[in-house]
């Protein structure tokens, strides 16, 4: 029983990374129609930025949680303006290929500059150790990751549901063409939305820095799981991305506990089942337009 609780928290903590990053992926897909293959590389860049800035200017973890996403936002804005926007008028496949190429380029540039062994990172002392709740003992950092990303997801949810910007994002996610025809300059929102999605990937990277290996390849398998998350949640569905993120984390944790070698396959089995039963994903809407 105790272990089941422990696996649950661990699964949710692992799911936090997926949820945050998938949220960014879903928002970008929703508004731009771009499947951003470079999302894993941006997650990696977030972690690297935290490590490198700590090394160079002593930027601590708390500040990194703010500074790195801001930097990644501008990085995303740059990418969108310089590259992605040139291809949005064409078949979505072109942008998929572009971001695929970008991810290879970013990973290799990082390898070239920093090698492959990874970067050291020190987390704040206060997040070390374990929290004890009755018989349950959990690493403080995991609990922090879980709570923090739940708060961020809640924040994004409020932004999406309570503000006019959120309303416009939801509308253009659902019916981009009609939204334009109703007098809204969707293009004006495209660039910041792309930057925002990239910033979320970067934020997930910062959160991963103290807890995972910071290597150039850290995003390469991450992005594959992320796609599974987005497909399970429903392409472009914001709530779906978050729920599926945590769900996949849980499935992974219980898979690890009870069928270790299958723990990653289980995720894709889940994905296959979801697609078979609900082709549009758990929270996706079938669209005819």
């Amino acid at each position: 029983m105790n272990e089941i609780l422990q696996y649950t928290v661990q699964g949710l903590a692992a799911g936090s990374f997926y949820a945050l990053a998938a949220l960014g992926l879903a928002i970008i897909f929703g508004v731009l129609g771009v499947v951003n293959f470079a999302h894993g590389a941006c997650y990696m860049l977030g972690a690297f930025a935290a490590a490198v800035l700590m090394d160079l200017v002593g930027l601590n973890f708390w500040l990194a949680l703010i500074v790195v996403p801001v930097l990644m936002f501008f990085f995303g804005v740059l990418l969108e303006r310089l590259l992605v926007s040139r291809l949005t008028a064409l078949d979505p496949l072109y942008n998929f290929l572009l971001t695929f190429g970008l991810s290879l380029l970013l990973v290799d540039l990082v390898k070239r500059e920093y090698g492959v062994s990874g970067q050291p990172y020190t987390r704040p002392e206060i997040l070390g150790g374990q929290l004890t709740l009755g018989a349950l003992r959990l690493p403080t950092y995991q609990v922090f990751v879980l709570v923090f990303s739940l708060l961020v997801c809640l924040g994004v949810w409020l932004l999406m549901t309570r503000t006019r910007i959120g309303m416009i994002v939801r509308a253009s996610t659902e019916k981009s063409e009609l939204t334009r025809a109703l007098g809204i300059d969707v293009n004006r929102w495209v660039t910041p939305v792309f930057g925002f999605g990239i910033a979320l990937a970067g934020l997930a990277g910062v959160l991963a820095a103290p807890f995972r290996a910071i290597t150039a390849d850290m995003g390469s398998s991450f992005i594959i799981i992320l796609f599974a998350v987005v497909v399970i949640g429903g392409l472009g569905s914001i709530v779906g991305a978050v729920v599926a993120g945590f769900l996949v984390g849980l499935v992974e944790a219980f898979g690890q506990a009870y069928a270790p070698t299958l723990s990653q396959i289980v995720i894709f089995v889940l994905m296959a089942v979801v697609i078979l039963i609900r082709p549009a994903g758990l929270f996706g809407r079938e669209e005819n337009a």
């Binding site: 008028a89 309303m167 416009i168 939801r170 509308a171 996610t173 659902e174 019916k175 063409e177 009609l178 939204t179 334009r180 025809a181 109703l182 007098g183 809204i184 300059d185 969707v186 293009n187 809407r285 005819n288 337009a289």
Partner: protein, 231 residues
């Protein structure tokens, strides 16, 4: 008010519109009738700037709007209601209403006016837009463009698939709109509905205007037209 000259539209190699010419004068209600595939919906999409592959010119109030994007056309007073009504599932009824910016405050309906005219929308204001019935969604779609104060309404088959009482309600609204001086271009398969609200009619066939009829002639040749439209 709205003038279309030599409009051609393409889908890849296929040409959907072969040089359409038409004029809608201020305050007029004009319908576009024609068989399925005649190019009616494509024409409205071209007017909204939603179709990329086009040639020809569209002017609004004498100003060329051919090169403008959809949102710029909306801001100049075009209000489009697409044939599937275009209600957002991820937006509540009220959000559906308030999403488009008010472009012409003079003729714009306030939210209170909308709720007054359509009490059902007020009752369901918090519900997701697509939980409304088909007729209610049509009311919502109409109310949405009325709230912006659009000066030219482009309505794509507003009566399609709706019960007679709802069609009657929509007829009332169109007549009310017309009374307020708003211009309407209406795509309609329902000849009876068309003749009851419109001043003039364009018959569209194979991507061009086959006939331009006033309402009197239209009503006189109704049976011929019904046969032509295959109804």
């Amino acid at each position: 008010m709205l003038e279309v000259r030599g409009l051609e539209a393409f889908y890849g190699d296929a040409q959907a519109l072969h040089g359409v010419d038409l004029v809608v004068r201020e305050g007029e209600v004009v319908t576009l009738v024609g068989r399925n595939g005649a190019g009616k919906t494509t024409l409205l999409r071209c007017l909204m700037g939603l179709h990329r592959d086009v040639r020809g010119s569209v002017t609004l109030d004498g100003t060329e709007i051919t090169g403008l994007g959809p949102h710029q056309r909306a801001r100049r007073g075009l209000g489009w209601v697409q044939d599937d009504r275009g209600i957002y599932a991820s937006l509540s009824v009220e959000e559906n209403l308030t999403l488009p910016p008010v472009t012409h405050p003079d003729g714009a309906w306030s939210l209170a006016q909308v709720y007054d005219a359509f009490p059902v929308l007020a009752d369901r204001r918090r519900a997701p837009g697509t939980t409304l019935s088909g007729g209610e969604q049509q009311m919502l779609a109409l109310a949405r463009v009325l709230r912006t104060g659009a000066r030219v309404l482009l309505l794509d088959e507003p009566s399609e698939g709706l019960a007679p009482v709802i069609v009657q309600r929509i007829r009332d609204i169109v007549q009310q709109v017309k009374a307020n001086g708003t211009t309407v271009l209406l795509v309609e398969q329902n000849v009876r509905f068309a003749s009851s609200v419109a001043d003039r009619h364009y018959v569209l066939a194979e991507g061009h205007v086959a006939a331009d009829l006033d309402n009197e002639e239209f009503t006189r040749r109704q049976d011929e037209l019904l046969a032509y439209l295959g109804m």
